[in-house]
């Protein structure tokens, strides 16, 4: 539960951080809008006084005074300033008492401060003003209070600021909600994992079929768990298999020795007992060696020994090896090669795998039958096929055949430990190939090597 608390405060802090960033961003944005609005309003005002100035300048002399008077009359809010001064600084018209000091007569708008006389007293205002020389030497000043523009900007700014607070709250709420949702998922996964760790291997992580990273991760972990579950079951199974199959020959050995000790009277009898014991012990050792080899292959990354394996040559070799054995059973052993093909792999292991298949085929085929080794191309894959005219593998047996120590009743009397096909499967898997066991009359097993 304490753990949960930490998670919560972490996610909450995260939500706060996101909200903070959002707030900063919004404020920056609002600041920018405020500044732009301000600039725009001032620019507009400047444009207005500039055009006003140019308008008045363009008027003929007498009309100017009237225009100035009119201009000021229309100024209901008292934000306009105008002034016409003679060359020596005497005021001719307007509401400016004197030419604003510091104002350049260059026809560009400046910020200057002027004094304004009101009934209550005089005030100093900062205005935007523009001044120009007239053809007759007079100076014309047109100005406008900036405060007005400022006021508008203020209103805008205030409105935006008021909106910021609810926006911030919304962001915080959204952040909190999202993080709580994520936290809930993490919690769920956490619990599942704890159950899996405690031993409940069936559990899987929940994931919707959505293409989001969390679901993908869950899918990958589930895949891992599937493999682990299979491996653990296999291991448990192997333990049982080993127990049974090792104990049987060892028990036989022990029984033979025990009885022999008591009952054997002649040296010959004792030697027979000892022979039996040795045979059984050898059987146990063969099982152990077989299992160790299997483990070695299944768990190894022995791809260092990989090279190019010329399959047609290798299959010929297998045929040469088993030819006399096939002949003893009057079995016709043939190799059919469509084309010379090679794969990448461990030659010794691949030879062992094919040898195992051929060995089985010969074992299962009755006298006078046929065993065929074929090398052919499939669709972007190379296939090694071993087929025979024996009884084949039934649909039910197909599954069983790959269990360890499984020995079909048909060949129970022949020597062997029952790990042959397991070995083939392990070798095939190590190479990234596929082993296909066909059911039906006549055995047919294929090692399928996809093109890399």
């Amino acid at each position: 539960m304490g753990q949960e608390h930490i998670i919560r405060s972490n996610t909450f802090r995260w939500a706060l951080a996101v909200a903070g960033v959002f707030a900063v961003f919004v404020m920056v944005l609002f600041g920018f809008i405020y500044w732009q609005t301000d600039q725009y309003l001032i620019a507009r005002s400047d444009k207005m006084i500039e055009s006003q100035l140019n308008f008045i300048v363009g008027l003929p002399g007498e009309h100017r005074l009237d225009a100035i008077k009119e201009h000021l009359k229309q100024d209901s809010r008292g934000v306009q300033y105008a002034g016409l001064f003679s060359a020596d600084g005497r005021k001719i018209a307007g509401n400016l008492e004197r030419f604003p000091p510091g104002l350049q007569l260059d026809g560009s708008v400046r910020s200057i401060s002027v004094e304004r006389t009101l009934p209550a007293g005089s005030e100093t205002h900062v205005i935007r003003a523009i001044a120009r020389h007239m053809p007759n030497g007079d100076a014309l000043v047109i100005g406008r209070e900036v405060d007005e523009a400022r006021e508008i900007s203020h209103v805008v700014g205030q409105a935006l600021a008021l909106g910021l607070l609810p926006g911030l709250c919304l962001c915080l709420l959204a952040g909190a909600w999202l993080s709580m949702r994520a936290q809930k998922r993490v919690e769920e996964v956490n619990q599942r994992v704890q159950r899996i760790v405690a031993g409940d291997l069936h559990e899987r992580l929940p994931h919707r079929d959505v293409d989001e990273p969390f679901s993908k991760l869950a899918a990958i972990v589930n895949g891992m768990l599937d493999e682990m579950e299979a491996m653990i079951h296999a291991l448990a199974g192997v333990g049982n298999d080993i127990a049974h199959d090792l104990r049987t020959p060892l028990t036989r050995a022990r029984l033979a020795l025990e009885r022999g000790r008591t009952n054997a009277t002649t040296l010959e009898q004792l030697q027979m007992v000892v022979d039996r014991a040795i045979a059984n012990i050898d059987q146990s050792l063969a099982i152990i060696t077989g299992l160790l080899r299997l483990a070695e292959i299944e768990n190894s990354r022995r791809t260092a020994a990989f090279g190019v394996v010329s399959l047609h040559e290798m299959l010929q070799e297998v045929r040469d090896i088993y030819e006399p054995i096939a002949e003893n059973k009057d079995i016709d052993l043939q190799v059919g090669v469509q084309q010379h093909l090679s794969v990448r792999g461990d030659r010794d292991l691949l030879l062992e795998a094919v040898a195992n298949l051929v060995d089985n085929a010969i074992k299962f085929t009755p006298e006078g039958g046929k065993v065929n080794i074929e090398l052919l191309r499939g669709e972007s894959e190379t296939i090694v096929r071993v087929s025979d005219t024996g009884p084949g593998i039934s649909e039910q047996e197909r599954e069983a055949v790959l269990r360890r120590f499984y020995r079909s009743d048909k060949i129970r009397s022949t020597p062997g430990v029952g790990l042959g096909l397991n070995l083939v499967a392990a070798i095939v898997k190590l190479h990234g190939f596929r082993l296909v066991i066909h059911s039906g009359r006549g055995g047919r097993l294929e090692i399928i090597c996809p093109d890399k």
Binding site: L285, D320, P324, D348, D359, P415
Partner: protein, 225 residues
């Protein structure tokens, strides 16, 4: 008498091996640790060595490596419970001449020691002659007396191997490793079947048999008729 140095830490195993070798007429010296064994190897100069791989202190392979560095060419048979192919390869690469996995048959051990002690000399001869058998190594043909024997390549190789080690016991494991180059033991009695065929071709109906099956051990090609 041929001197064999055995470096093995398990006393029971060592006792059995020593007894068997002594029965065969070897003089056996035993050491239970790597360092002591290395010392004895340097001082007593055995004709052959049997070295267990897993020893307390200095392990077997290190002992062999040290000897090889000192240019000691004594043939060494490595014993090991480690039976994986890579282990075998490593053992031979570190200077061992042969590798036997535990548990093993004493017969096997003896056969291999004898094989190590009397390794066939690399000869420039193009013909191999044992008794009435004659092998032309260039033409790859075989004759017994005047009778031509028709052999498949692998059968030729098998007969060549046996003729180079005539009158000596050759175990199935040795044959599988050297003639077939196998790193695994096939399920069926491969060697027996091939040997049966070879025997059939070499020992004709009226001829005295040269290829013998030693029950429970292996095969021998006997010259003495």
């Amino acid at each position: 008498m041929t001197k064999v140095l055995l470096i093995e830490d398990d006393s029971e195993t060592a006792e059995e091996i020593t007894a068997e070798l002594a029965d065969r007429g070897f003089e056996v010296e035993w050491s239970a640790s790597g360092i002591e064994g290395l010392d004895k190897a340097r001082s007593s100069r055995p004709d052959a060595m049997i070295v267990d791989r897993l020893l307390p202190g200095m392990d077997g392979l290190t002992v062999i490596e040290a000897l090889r560095k000192e240019q000691v060419r004594t043939p060494v048979l490595v014993l090991s419970a480690l039976g994986a192919v890579d282990d075998r390869v490593r053992g031979l690469r570190m200077g061992g001449d042969d590798y036997l996995t535990k548990p093993f048959a004493l017969v096997e051990l003896v056969a291999r020691i004898e094989a190590l002690l009397r390794r066939p000399v690399e000869s420039r001869e193009t013909t191999l002659r044992v008794g009435p058998l004659e092998l032309d190594l260039i033409e790859r043909t075989a004759k017994r007396g005047d009778r031509v024997i028709d052999l498949l390549p692998r059968e030729f190789r098998l007969l060549e191997y046996m003729m180079q080690r005539s009158d000596r016991l050759l175990t199935r494991a040795m044959l599988l490793e050297e003639v077939w180059n196998y790193k695994f033991v096939p399920a069926t009695n491969l060697v027996d079947v091939h040997m049966g065929r070879l025997r059939h071709k070499v020992d004709g109906p009226d001829e005295s048999p040269m290829i013998h099956n030693v029950r429970g051990a292996g095969f021998i090609l006997r010259t003495g008729l």
